[in-house]
């Protein structure tokens, strides 16, 4: 399995020099396809001081198919579905946008970037996106509250 080799390599890289605010570990020892990621809410965003548990699962066809990123911790964010799945909509993770040369580190950094700068035009939660665009203070308030409650 070529994918295991690459994933192990990326995992080693990420654990050795983790990106800012992100720690990575395997969800289960021996299964490289499911990762558990702790992501700190970036400073300046309503998610600051929150600690979000993110699940990243890799398809066996990785890197030819994109990984999926989902928030286990509930989060009030236009690009994360507000259900028990908490799946995140990342542009670069769509099948036609994905490139095998993209690395997981880039995915995670992009995900964290999305916390500080949501993309309301690319939203999965239309209501939150609407609020983000039109009533920013209210959105931030709710997001902060959720962060305090859940994260």
């Amino acid at each position: 399995m070529g994918s295991v080799k690459r994933i192990t390599k990326e995992l080693a890289e990420l654990t050795q020099s983790p990106p800012e605010g992100i720690t990575v570990e395997l969800a289960e020892e021996g299964d490289v396809y499911n990762w558990k990621i702790h992501m700190e809410g970036p400073e300046g965003s309503p998610y600051h001081k929150g600690n979000f548990l993110v699940k990243l699962s890799l398809p066996t066809e990785y890197p030819f198919k994109p990984p999926t990123v989902s928030f286990v911790t509930k989060i009030y964010h236009p690009n994360v579905t507000n259900d028990d799945k908490g799946s995140m909509c990342l542009g670069m993770l769509r099948a036609d946008e994905w490139k095998p040369s993209s690395k997981i580190a880039a995915v995670l950094q992009f995900a964290r970037q999305l916390l500080s700068e949501p993309m309301p035009d690319d939203a999965v939660e239309g209501r939150i996106a609407e609020q983000y665009k039109n009533d920013r203070p209210r959105y931030e308030e709710v997001a902060r509250e959720w962060t305090r409650k859940h994260a």
């Binding site: 070529g2 080799k5 690459r6 390599k9 990326e10 890197p63 030819f64 769509r94 099948a95 036609d96 490139k99 095998p100 040369s101 690395k103």
Partner: protein
């Protein structure tokens, strides 16, 4: 059709036996004449119906391969090397005639054409013979005697065909080239669009227009990818494509598209250009644009009711020229096996396995965009359902892996490569890479870069830069041309004379390949056509049943 050419070529070499008494060289040219004219003619007769690719498949017959290593350049040669026959006497002529009769598959028009052919030849033969001898000695490649007489022959011919020459524009170094690739929308669950073989068009002059419309029997099948610049219309066998659907124009260095009154519409990136049966204004197109012709007809499931989705590739000529990125890769590959001091630290990694790529003793694949991966890592993308199409996972450049080897590049590369030695030969004969994939790499002609990822403004800026680059290259080319006659008169005269198109000639035959270079390539690297491992598409560009894109 393959059988006709085989019978022609196998039966013929027996006949010139009577002339064995003559000098051997003469016999050699003679046998070539017979076999090649025979096979070539039978091809010509069908070439109006069968696309060029499938005619190449006829060259699989071993006999033909041995006698005509380069079938494309053969016709011009064969006519003129047969010149000795009329002047040398009746005995040969008789055997010539008898052999044509015996080759039953040879179409009649050969006999019909012979008189005027001979008349032309007789005038040329007197002058032609001595130089061909001298040239034969100077030609280094002794294995292929065919190309050697050609320079003199062709240059002789220029005298006859001066009017034709003045009509055909000289081959410019940079031509407006556009490519059409089938586009499959991965995100939508829509039906697949009409499959077609990638089409390349290079405009002979800026004023030319590429017409796109429904394929029609009356026009005959256009050659999908001719080697010469041409504005042959592009035909798609779909009912939703109008006979006159749209046109591609090259205005002020920019490609444009125009709907010429199609009934079911032309869509540029999902935007309809005009109302039904209305001519639209010009819309500029850029690389990567998606053009859709017509809308799927819901009444039928057959391929013929599918719309055509084209991915445009244009303004990419700069990538086929040496640039920093591919030169860097080239030098890395060049130093690959040279052991001890080689520095692999600066090597790019394989984006699939994230391992370092350029190490000796590994099978590598290099795409035309100079991105390199381990063959094993990339093979999954090479042997995909859309096989002849390969998308670079790094820069998303689309490549037609079944495209013919583009020799014209070599001429452009030469001045640049002179400084760095034998890079050209290195890139074609890269020892580490898997053989089929190397040939595929060579055959792909549109490298692309990380520039693809730049925003549009940057792309524009890049285009401007590229214009400068191209101008520079032209200058270099000129310099090269002016210097070269002294250095290598044979090859330049050859390259020039080969571009001349002759009135009354078979226009469908790509006879203008620089003949001196082609045989080298052909003999060294197996083309994708000859490779038994690569899937083939012999059904031509207009296969109905979806086989066109399949292995």
């Amino acid at each position: 059709m393959a059988s006709t050419s085989v019978t022609a070529s196998t039966s013929l070499p027996d006949h010139p036996r009577p002339s064995r008494l003559r000098r051997f060289s003469q016999l050699r040219t003679y046998t070539q004449t017979l076999s090649s004219t025979g096979s070539q003619r039978s091809r010509n007769s069908i070439s109006s119906r069968v696309p060029w690719r499938s005619s190449v498949s006829g060259s699989n017959s071993p006999v033909e391969n041995s006698t005509t290593p380069c079938p494309e350049t053969e016709p011009s040669l064969s006519r003129y090397t047969s010149a000795p026959a009329p002047t040398y006497g009746i005995g040969e002529l008789n055997s010539h005639a008898s052999s044509t009769e015996s080759a039953t598959s040879t179409p009649l028009n050969e006999v019909a054409e012979t008189p005027d052919e001979m008349a032309r030849l007789r005038s040329a033969s007197a002058v032609q013979h001595p130089p061909s001898r001298t040239l034969e000695r100077t030609t280094t490649n002794s294995q292929e005697p065919t190309p050697s007489p050609e320079p003199s022959v062709a240059s002789n011919h220029t005298a006859e065909a001066t009017p034709a020459e003045s009509n055909t524009p000289p081959r410019a170094e940079t031509k407006a080239t556009i490519r059409f690739f089938p586009y499959t929308d991965a995100s939508q669950s829509s039906r697949p669009s009409l499959p077609f073989v990638p089409v390349t068009r290079t405009l002979p002059s800026e004023s030319c227009v590429i017409r796109v419309g429904r394929y029609s029997e009356r026009d005959g099948v256009p050659i999908p990818n001719p080697t010469e610049p041409t504005d042959t219309p592009v035909g798609f066998k779909s009912k939703v494509v109008s006979r006159k659907h749209c046109e591609f124009l090259y205005v002020n260095g920019q490609w444009h598209i125009k709907d010429v009154g199609s009934s079911s519409g032309t869509f540029l990136n999902h935007m309809r250009l005009s109302q039904p049966n209305m001519v639209s204004r010009l819309y500029s197109i850029k690389d990567g644009d998606i053009v859709q012709l017509g809308i799927d007809f819901r009444g039928g499931e057959e391929m013929i009711f599918r719309c055509v989705r084209i991915r445009i590739e244009c303004n990419r000529s700069w990538q086929q020229k040496p640039n920093e990125f591919n030169k860097n890769t080239e030098s890395l590959i060049k130093n690959l096996g040279k052991g001890e001091t080689a520095d692999y630290s600066g090597c790019r990694e394989c984006s699939i396995c994230l391992g370092s790529v350029l190490r000796p003793y590994q099978c590598l694949f290099m795409a035309a965009c100079a991105h390199v991966w381990h063959y094993k890592c990339i093979s999954r993308l090479l042997h995909s359902p859309d096989y002849p199409m390969f998308q670079c996972p790094n820069c998303r450049a689309f490549t037609d892996l079944s495209a013919d080897v583009d020799d014209t590049n070599e001429i452009d590369d030469t001045p640049a490569n002179d400084e760095t030695g034998d890079q050209a030969s290195n890139s074609t004969g890269e020892p580490e890479a898997d053989a089929p994939s190397t040939s595929a790499t060579n055959s792909t002609a549109e490298p692309r870069d990380h520039l693809q990822e730049l925003p549009e403004e940057a792309m524009l800026a890049n285009n401007v830069e590229n214009l400068h680059l191209e101008e520079l290259d032209q200058e270099m080319e000129h310099a090269f041309r002016t210097v070269s006659p002294a250095l290598d008169p044979a090859s330049t005269s050859l390259a020039r004379s080969a571009t001349i198109s002759i009135p009354g000639w078979q226009p469908s035959l790509p006879l203008s390949v620089p003949a001196g270079r082609q045989p080298h390539l052909r003999s060294d690297t197996p083309t994708s056509d000859d490779n038994p491992l690569t899937p083939r598409n012999d059904s031509g560009p207009l296969a109905f049943d979806g086989r066109a894109g399949m292995p």
